[in-house]
């Protein structure tokens, strides 16, 4: 009898193409997602060395970071550098014959939303992309993580990655969530517990009743931010919800292959008694709607709390808190729900899926965005956008006073025209509140789509439960 394995162990073992005596492994990569920002140097490297893309049919390219989210972008992108990168991806995708969704294609969107939507991401796969939020795909029980550009080149040329195995960490969320608490609150609350380096060196498996109860969209939100806790990847064992989500997608297996795939996918769970190097357990009912107050995703508190003081922390963190409160323009002791905001951003690979838009629209229905506040919704893909229009969500957003944009990364990282100005304070459903992340001097508070909608109505950070 073999020793009990974790889900991570099983996926890892199924992808070892070569292992050296010291454990250095060539891990076979099933899906390689490519976007315009971290790939041009990799393709250039291939050309310089006369190398080809080994598996173009497993390499999926889509522009997302740089693209404007306003009409007309499929004919011309005004920013020259952005245009050059998008054109370079176009050229590379065509020359190397990759699977490709250009800006003009309705299936275009954020790479981590397009992959699952098109059925490229499947349980038990290895998925990489030159983007740290590749962890998103872990929601399907796929081992998915971000890589640098040199590794992008390595995967393009060899369809493998040189890896050493990470350690196993289990994050269990027991019981039920309370009303108003979402997947975003779970993932932020976990980072609040572990810190941004708590997961370094680990692959996290999220489990427990509260995780099982989440939809696939919610699970993607949880795994998306595994990297914010320092983990290489986040994983959730596939189950009936996963199979239902995958079935019938354009690139999901069909017929006999579906049956064979399903039989294997059903073996993808952590065996009883398997070893975890680290375990964190949170009670679902203890998690509140949360917001971040600082410039690190670990700076998380329930919306009912107040801005902390540097003296609440020790060592280097105390200094860091002083710096971030200064940057954020916040005074210790201020109740978080009194913090006034200028802007609301709903979107990103963390919260740009249909369910996120539904959650925000449910709060906004029949209400108006506070006077003077800028509010935008950026669907994660052209198909999410179309579905939201069909469901009437777009009308709710527009009637409330939100801008209804085209798909892309938008204000999550401000590489496109959607940016904050210095001092502008934003309630954002994205994933990073780093200094300057959404624009130089911009101030970011991370929260769930429902909480973002609530903040749009009141003009301040708001406990969504007051509006439910």
């Amino acid at each position: 009898m073999t020793a009990p394995k974790t889900l991570y162990d099983k996926i890892w073992d199924a992808h070892v193409a070569h292992e050296a005596d010291d454990g250095t492994t060539l891990l076979y990569i099933d899906r390689h997602l490519v976007h315009e920002v971290t790939s041009p140097q990799a393709f250039e490297g291939l050309r310089m060395n006369g190398r080809k893309v080994r598996a173009p049919e497993k390499t999926i390219a889509v522009p997302d970071h740089n693209v404007p989210t306003t009409e007309g972008r499929d004919t011309y992108i005004e920013n020259e550098e952005s245009r050059i990168q998008v054109e370079a991806l176009d050229r590379n995708a065509r020359e190397f014959e990759l699977v490709y969704y250009p800006v003009s294609d309705i299936r275009q969107g954020i790479v981590h939303i397009v992959g699952p939507e098109q059925g490229w991401t499947l349980p038990g796969m290895t998925v990489v992309c030159g983007d740290s939020h590749t962890a998103t795909h872990g929601a399907f029980g796929a081992l998915a993580h971000g890589i640098g550009t040199s590794e992008v080149e390595h995967v393009l040329a060899t369809q493998t990655l040189i890896q050493k195995k990470s350690k196993n960490m289990k994050v269990e969320i027991t019981g039920k969530l309370r009303p108003g608490v979402t997947a975003k609150d779970i993932t932020l609350a976990v980072i609040g517990e572990t810190g941004t380096a708590g997961g370094t060196g680990y692959v996290i498996e999220y489990c427990g009743e509260a995780i099982r109860d989440l939809s696939m969209e919610g699970r993607m939100t949880v795994c998306n931010m595994a990297i914010e806790g320092g983990a290489r990847a986040g994983l959730i064992a596939p189950d009936e919800k996963t199979f239902d989500y995958v079935m019938g997608r354009p690139h999901a297996p069909k017929g006999a292959q579906w049956e064979a795939a399903l039989a294997w996918w059903k073996t993808l769970y952590t065996d009883e008694g398997a070893h975890f190097d680290k375990v964190l357990t949170l009670k679902g009912e203890d998690i509140a709607p949360v917001v971040t107050w600082g410039t690190s995703p670990e700076d998380v508190l329930p919306i009912t709390a107040s801005v902390p003081s540097p003296s609440d922390f020790e060592g280097g963190k105390s200094e860091a808190v002083k710096r971030s409160l200064d940057y954020m323009g916040l005074t210790p002791g201020t109740p978080l729900d009194q913090v006034e905001i200028d802007t609301v951003f709903i979107g990103s690979c963390t919260n740009g899926r249909i369910e996120d838009l539904r959650a925000a629209a449910a709060i906004l229905k029949g209400k108006k965005v506070k006077d003077g506040l800028r509010a935008m919704v950026v669907p994660g893909s052209g198909l999410v956008r179309a579905q939201a229009e069909e469901e009437g969500l777009a009308d709710i957003f527009k009637e409330a006073g939100f801008e209804w944009r085209l798909a892309g990364c938008s204000m999550c990282l401000a590489m496109n025209p959607d940016q904050l100005s210095p001092g502008e304070r934003c309630a954002a459903t994205s994933n990073r509140n780093f200094e300057g992340r959404q624009g130089r001097g911009g101030r970011t508070h991370l929260l769930s789509p429902a909480m973002a909608a609530a903040a749009a109505i009141t003009g301040r950070l708001t406990d969504v439960r007051e509006l439910m």
């Binding site: 990168q85 890589i147 370094t200 690190s296 590489m415």
Partner: protein, 201 residues
């Protein structure tokens, strides 16, 4: 790739925790399609004011540290985005060794692809190196990869751990892709097997 064997040079102190890759190289500089030329934008938002003038108090703007080759930093250096532009910017500036109590995973692997040595040491030892770095340009530190040691300007020495394969590649400036292509037969065999067992992939 550039080799890294041994350097003796100025170390810049940066006692901040959680230095993220957005800080190391902000997003507007990711629009390049080259690997070079990012050094002048390294730590852009901390280094320059809104008008593009140097902020005097920032460590790399101080005369003693303008030619720093080593950076001594706080916990969790390089967290956040996977952008390899971060090590490219460090390298282009002239920094080829970063010492910290811990690094984020992706940044750590990216360093090795670019001839940069990331060294992990316990906080107490990093504190000693930080103090040494604060002495300025006359205090030169030595980083010796072959012997896995760091020696302060006072002659105090600390050993560090490093993965043997990564060390080998860095010492010899080896190209990962060429190494992997030598194992092409193993990849072919694996792929053939997967095509049988998991044809939907």
């Amino acid at each position: 790739m550039d080799k890294f064997e041994k350097i003796t040079g100025v170390a810049a102190p940066m006692p901040l925790i959680n230095v993220d890759t957005d800080m190391i190289i902000p997003k507007q500089y990711l629009k390049t399609i080259a690997r070079t030329g990012l050094g002048k934008s390294l730590f852009d938002e901390m280094r320059y004011d809104d008008d593009g003038n140097e902020i005097e108090s920032f460590v790399l703007n101080q005369p003693a540290y303008r030619n720093a080759e080593i950076l001594v930093a706080g916990d969790n250096f390089g967290c956040g985005s996977s952008r390899e532009h971060a090590p490219w910017a460090l390298k282009d500036f002239g920094i080829s060794c970063v010492i910290a109590p811990s690094f984020a995973d992706i940044f750590y692997s990216n360093c090795f692809k670019n001839g940069i040595l990331p060294v992990i040491l316990p906080q107490e030892q990093v504190d000693v190196l930080m103090k040494d770095a604060e002495k300025g340009a006359n205090a030169r530190m030595t980083v010796d990869l072959e012997n896995q040691t760091i020696t302060t300007s006072e002659g105090e020495s600390f050993g560090f751990e490093i993965d043997a394969f990564k060390k080998h590649c860095l010492l010899n400036g080896l190209d990962d892709i060429a190494l992997t292509l030598e194992k092409g037969a193993a990849i072919d065999a694996f792929e053939a097997n997967v095509n049988q067992q998991r044809p939907w992939v």
